[in-house]
């Protein structure tokens, strides 16, 4: 590795990114501290945290987020791998399908889910557990554009065929190829998709609401709809907590200290 020299161009853009992220947040933060007239205080935060339901709903959403990430990796990793290896001609179809969740209004999607799965023969909405299955499927659909595309873009940067043939010649089965050979080479890409998908589930509002599950988004609307300062405090708290989770996921995904190995070697 070369010795580090300061790259001003890179530093400039990193600072632009940091400013763009945090300057607007300061607007919300400042407002959230003004619940008491004429001085800064944490009162809004006290109000928010005094309801145990806030953290409980965060926990629910975080759990659903992890499950969603796991299911979508399991679903999209083999699919994208297969598309690159055997079916490149099907990629445009898959691309259109995976973009649909952006385009179909979520409200249409959730009412469609309810209409399709609430009645006979599924009755998925009648118990909390089956509703959770339904909502997980919904979250996986919503995270599909991000997860699919992250993995797809990552897959473009590695030599799928070469890696596969090498692994096959060493006697690996499909499962081993996917998870012991391909996945480690796609860490960065899968991680990117996972970060977005996890945060998506935590911030999601409409699915949790209309399926009546104790998720964070609906809770925040329920409690904060007509308050002024508490929604700002809740937003700051939920962003902070989500961010902590994302940092943890990032560490878990990256492995400790190791530079990412993305190229097939």
């Amino acid at each position: 590795m070369k010795t580090r020299k300061l790259n001003l161009w890179a530093l400039f853009w990193a600072i632009v990114g940091l400013l763009y992220f945090f300057v607007p947040l300061y607007g919300t933060l400042d407002f959230s501290l003004r619940m008491e007239r004429g001085r800064l205080s944490l009162k809004a935060y006290q109000v928010v945290l005094s309801d145990p339901q806030f953290l409980a709903s965060f926990r629910y959403s975080a759990t659903m987020g992890l499950i969603t990430v796991a299911v979508s990796i399991l679903l999209f990793l083999p699919t994208v791998y297969w598309l690159h290896l055997k079916l490149p001609q099907a990629r445009p179809i898959v691309e259109i399908l995976t973009t649909l969740p952006f385009i179909i209004p979520v409200i249409v999607f959730v009412f469609g889910l309810i209409r399709t799965f609430s009645g006979p023969p599924f009755h998925l909405t009648e118990s909390a557990f089956t509703t959770d299955i339904l909502i997980t499927a919904g979250y996986v659909v919503l995270s599909m554009p991000y997860m699919y595309r992250s993995i797809d873009i990552g897959m473009r940067t590695i030599d799928v065929r070469g890696l596969t043939e090498a692994a096959q010649s060493l006697g690996s089965n499909w499962f081993q190829i996917l998870f012991n050979v391909i996945l480690p080479n796609l860490r960065g890409a899968v991680l990117g998709g996972a970060l977005i998908s996890f945060a998506l589930v935590i911030g999601e509002l409409i699915l949790g609401d209309f399926l009546v599950r104790p998720a964070l988004g609906p809770y925040m609307v329920q409690v904060g709809r007509d308050a002024a300062y508490e929604p700002a405090a809740m937003a700051m708290l939920s962003w902070g907590l989500t961010w902590i989770c994302l940092i943890l996921i990032q560490f878990a995904g990256r492995g400790r200290g190791s530079a990412p190995q993305l190229t097939g070697r």
Binding site: V71, L74, R115, R225, D226, A228, Y229
Partner: protein, 411 residues
């Protein structure tokens, strides 16, 4: 990442996937049916709901017909749940109403989509027809135009509502459906919600809003093409600028002037931006403005102004879904909302309850609650449109809002 760690994770993942995929498998075999309009009457089947007696509450149209209040309470408690929809806790003090109802009868309430509008409520009934879960709404609180709409009267279509007349039916004042499909819940008048920390010279009339001093300060409660409250503010402006109940055009012209002068801010004036001071002059129903004033508690200071001129009154309906999974609880809820206790809670939340006349004549509402409401004089003067007039106005807004407010793309 070691492959050992990975396999443990993997097992968990696979278990989940199996669950999801089994669901897939069954889904493949049978196409779901959509009985959209097959159940036009109030007799939607709810046989699977446990009933204490032989009474099918989904078809009962008054408490007496169902065997009396005790029978209703027992049946509702056996159901144990109630799903309400689109009831913000601060709107008319519905939060306290739900808490007290739950405590009194031991019935759990789910509040779906508190931030939504009437259209969501109607759509939720349609898409939950077969659903016995907590997602299907039992009772509705809908904008005036949605009474006829949800009951299939205007435009004609399937009826989604179950007729029911509460014990206090005779004292409910307003444009109620004669058969009890929908009935007035509460009234409000259109008001200005002023953040007096920002605005020192408080506007008193609609035409005051056009003054240059309010440049970039006037906000509407929503997009008038989407929000009933915002649409009615146009109507209120019309009435005070030479319009009539049958002619909303002056209101649209007024908004055009407001937008042209730069006074109208296009963002949606909700509590956050009002408190921030971004829309220090916002147009709202009196009950929402007064609730904000109470919630903000002096930070910032809010003054609620009833603009001089003709007060504009509006109202909302209650109704029971014909497909309610908890038909007895739904009926018990209505009895509670229209009881003296429930009506007083609405008044406490700054809404003028539908049984206001009856309640005041018997001095049920305490003086401090009464004083916070718009004066009864003003309420008596208020102009309230008929349903037909409302639909005409809606059509005019629909056709003209785009051009009247000049939705051009400015950079």
């Amino acid at each position: 990442m070691s492959s050992n760690q990975f396999s443990t994770k993997f097992v968990a993942i696979v278990l989940l996937a199996v669950l999801v995929l089994t669901a897939c498998g069954t889904a493949q075999t049978s196409a779901p049916s959509t009985p959209e309009s097959s159940l036009p009457t109030a007799t939607a089947g709810n046989q699977s709901i446990p009933n204490t007696g032989s009474v099918d509450w989904s078809t009962v149209s008054s408490v007496a017909a169902g065997g009396g209040m005790d029978a209703l309470v027992a049946a509702a408690q056996a159901e144990g749940n109630l799903t309400v929809i689109t009831l913000p806790r601060t709107w008319c003090d519905y939060g306290e109403m739900m808490d007290k109802f739950s405590a009194k009868y031991g019935i759990k309430i789910q509040d779906v989509n508190p931030d939504g509008g009437s259209a969501d409520e109607v759509q939720a009934i349609k898409d939950n027809m077969q659903n016995k879960g907590p997602q299907a709404p039992d009772v509705l609180d809908i904008g005036a135009a949605y009474g006829p709409l949800a009951s299939g009267q205007n435009p004609s279509g399937p009826n989604l509502l179950a007729p029911y007349k509460v014990a206090t039916w005779d004292t409910i004042k307003g444009n109620n459906d004669a058969s009890g499909l929908y009935y007035v819940d509460y009234y409000g008048v259109m008001s200005f919600e002023i953040n007096t920390d920002v605005v020192k010279n408080v506007p008193q009339t609609w035409s005051d809003l056009l003054k240059p001093e309010y440049k970039g300060q006037v906000g509407l409660p929503g997009d008038p093409r989407a929000s009933n409250e915002a649409a009615q503010s146009i109507y209120a402006a019309a009435i005070n600028n030479g319009g009539t109940l049958d002619n909303i055009q002056p209101g649209l012209d007024f908004m055009k002037q407001l937008a042209k002068s730069g006074n109208l801010l296009p963002l949606i004036a909700d509590s956050g931006v009002i408190a921030k001071g971004e829309t220090p002059v916002s147009i709202h129903w009196s009950f929402n403005a007064l609730a904000d004033k109470q919630t903000f508690n002096g930070n910032p200071n809010i003054q609620v102004v009833y603009p001089t001129g003709t007060p504009w009154g509006g109202y909302y309906y209650q109704a029971i879904s014909a497909y309610a999974p908890h038909p007895a609880a739904a009926r018990l809820w209505e009895e509670y909302v229209y009881s003296d206790e429930g009506q007083t809670l609405l008044a406490k939340g700054f809404c003028i309850p539908a049984r206001f006349g009856d309640l005041t004549s018997r001095n049920v509402i305490s003086a401090d609650i009464l004083n916070a409401l718009p004066s009864s004089d003003m309420f008596a003067k208020a102009v309230i449109p008929s349903i037909d007039q409302l639909s005409t106005a809606r059509a005019a807004i629909k056709d003209q809002w785009d051009s009247v407010v000049g939705l051009d793309i400015k950079n």
